[in-house]
Symmetry: C2
DNA sequence: ATCGTTACCGGGAACGATTGCGTAAATAAA
DNA sequence: TTTATTTACGCAATCGTTCCCGGTAACGAT
């Protein structure tokens, strides 16, 4: 069963007017006399009239809804980003349809097709760790769909993008490890072709180089499911522990990997930070309650969401095709805590 | 700028047919000759035709989208429930519009009005901890909007509901505390009028009574923002610590309260579980990595979402008004860990 | 030759809203 | 008084789709 909403036609019939007059009265057109306006407005108010958004969408050829695709909403970074997106969206009369790729290319494609077939006005996306084929996104973009990338961006598609300074973030975190006396620093990262992986590992390599430490490729591991499957993190950690040059610290490049590595280390009874330092990207507010509290790189997720949505609004509401695109690069925050206090170093802070 | 999609009219013009014929050919009507069908289908396929969902919505007077309102998606319990909802929704061609009340009645109302004005076909909701006035929901329900409640349900509205056995969950958790030698057990809960608060506190009280422990009302605290504001949790804990009969354990009745209490206790340097045992409802997978690992009551959140969505589909797709409603009560799981191992008790398990 | 069937297809009215255009009456200007 | 102009409203097209009516052939049966 369905509940029937009041339409403009109902009002017209009830008041003996035409639908045009009612429509114009409701939109406060100058063509309508004050008396008629009052009549219509009062009737509409009293009977709780709301314009049918679907009819409007059909007429205006816009749905006033945007799509957001992230790998998972349970991830603190993404849920915070979504909060930022929503806050701007709602203020501008847009609603947000969220879908999750769960780090799978196939699911991302399905969601993408679903969203576009639901005629969204724009798209904000952080691609899955599996995604290497951007042809669908590219085609979508070329056909005129406004798209904003954030976090995991796609270099080959020219549009607005929002990221943190991944290079510097990883550089600083790695430097922090070195300064605390760690010598053999490993990295556990996402798939190699992912933008955040490339940029963060570049920062990691540079920091090592600048500190006179040779980069050991054996100490760089990739998790192709981004840590969604704990087993792959376990394998990465196992390989590190069995490496000829066993690492004494790990840098993890995303939320799921950070907690995943920590979980594995703990289950193996490896002492953090004494045996193994750990610093990673994370936006979870529980990391400070862990044992030991984790040193993390925290991204301004909410703000990133706000910016992404504002940029998308620019694209959607621009009259002419936008040709000038910007990539907003924000600063992240390194929060040093107990997981990176090495025995051999003089601790900077004690959590 | 907007990208123009292919319409049925375009196909009709290109093929020299009428829109009716094209429409029928696409829907494989018996009235259309195999040749024409083939012609239309091939043209549609080649030119990537997709029916306009908005036009369909207008015609069919249904949007094929449902609304979900929770207090926040960053909460593990809710994000898991949403995953369950989505999985069923997508399989049935529905999309999900999520919005967050952030435990505020006002925001819940705004979201509710927004969602209904966007003509959703149905609603799944867990009300905010502030919500006492259900008149809007009631009116919506009476006007025929299909609604399913989960977690925080509304007794006075008769429709499908999905919950865990809150009474038993709290009873078992409290009993667990008693069996571990805790004597003065406090409860930190949400607003008193909330369904989960009432049911869980009833279980708590009964467990104390059954174990011959008098219920001390001073040890029952309510957080009216559900722990969204840490300060209110801190106040509750402070009051407990200053109570004449200082508690030696706390039962928390929701995710945010559990981690909130733990955070406060830790910041005060109070030893858990020796000085203060802690058990609470939580679906976060990080609780086992905390120091100490938390004993939690875990709800089958994903499954709850699946069930809620299936029940909603029943309501939406029923031809006649549904009169028979069911309340699905699922079992929760008590996972005992380090936060409830008291000195004076013989520990059951060591995490 | 006429009728009834069957097979195919098109016209046009919905769904709910907006909007360009036309027009009647009322008023102002000539 | 005649002509312009303004005021205030209705008609009908439009958005993309479906579906109720038709209608027109072709064909076999009477």
């Amino acid at each position: 069963m369905r509940f029937e909403a009041l339409t403009i036609k109902d009002i017209a019939k009830a008041l003996g007017l035409s639908t045009s007059t009612v429509s114009r009265a409701l939109r406060d057109s100058y063509e309508i006399s004050p008396e008629t306006k009052k009549l219509v407005l009062e009737y509409a108010e009293k009977n709780n009239y709301h314009p049918n958004p679907i009819a409007l969408s059909l007429k205006e050829r816009r749905s006033r809804s945007i799509g957001v695709i992230v790998c998972e909403i349970a991830n603190s970074f993404f849920s915070q980003t979504i909060n930022g997106i929503e806050s701007i969206a709602y203020n501008n009369g847009y609603n947000v349809i969220i879908s999750q790729s769960r780090e799978s290319f196939d699911r991302e494609m399905i969601n993408l097709q679903y969203l576009t077939s639901r005629s969204i006005d724009g798209l904000i996306i952080s691609v899955s760790t599996e995604t290497r084929d951007f042809s669908f996104l590219k085609e979508l973009h070329e056909r005129g769909m406004p798209i904003v990338f954030f976090d995991r961006i796609v270099d080959e598609i020219e549009t607005h993008k929002v990221i943190v300074d991944n290079y510097k973030s990883a550089y600083d975190a790695t430097t922090h490890l070195v300064k605390n006396g760690y010598q053999h620093i490993a990295a556990v990262s996402n798939a190699a072709y992912l933008s955040i992986t490339k940029e963060r590992l570049a920062g990691y390599r540079a920091a090592l180089a600048d500190n006179g430490i040779a980069v050991n490729e054996d100490l760089i591991k990739h998790c192709h499911h981004g840590g969604m499957i704990l087993v792959e993190v376990e394998e990465a950690v196992n390989e590190l522990l069995q490496a000829p040059e066993k690492p004494d610290a790990i840098l993890t490049t995303s939320d799921k990997l950070t907690t995943g590595c920590f979980r594995i280390l703990k289950s193996k009874g490896i002492n953090v930070p004494a045996e193994m330092g750990l610093v990673g990207f994370s936006n979870s507010d529980l990391t400070e309650l862990l044992d030991p509290p984790l040193t993390i790189i925290k991204q301004p997720a909410f703000e990133m969401g706000e910016i992404a949505m504002n940029l998308l609004l620019q694209l959607i509401e621009s009259k002419r095709p936008v040709k000038e695109f910007e990539t907003r690069v924000l600063a992240s925050e390194l929060i040093t805590r107990g997981s990176t206090v090495a025995k051999k170093a003089k601790p900077k802070t004690l959590a």
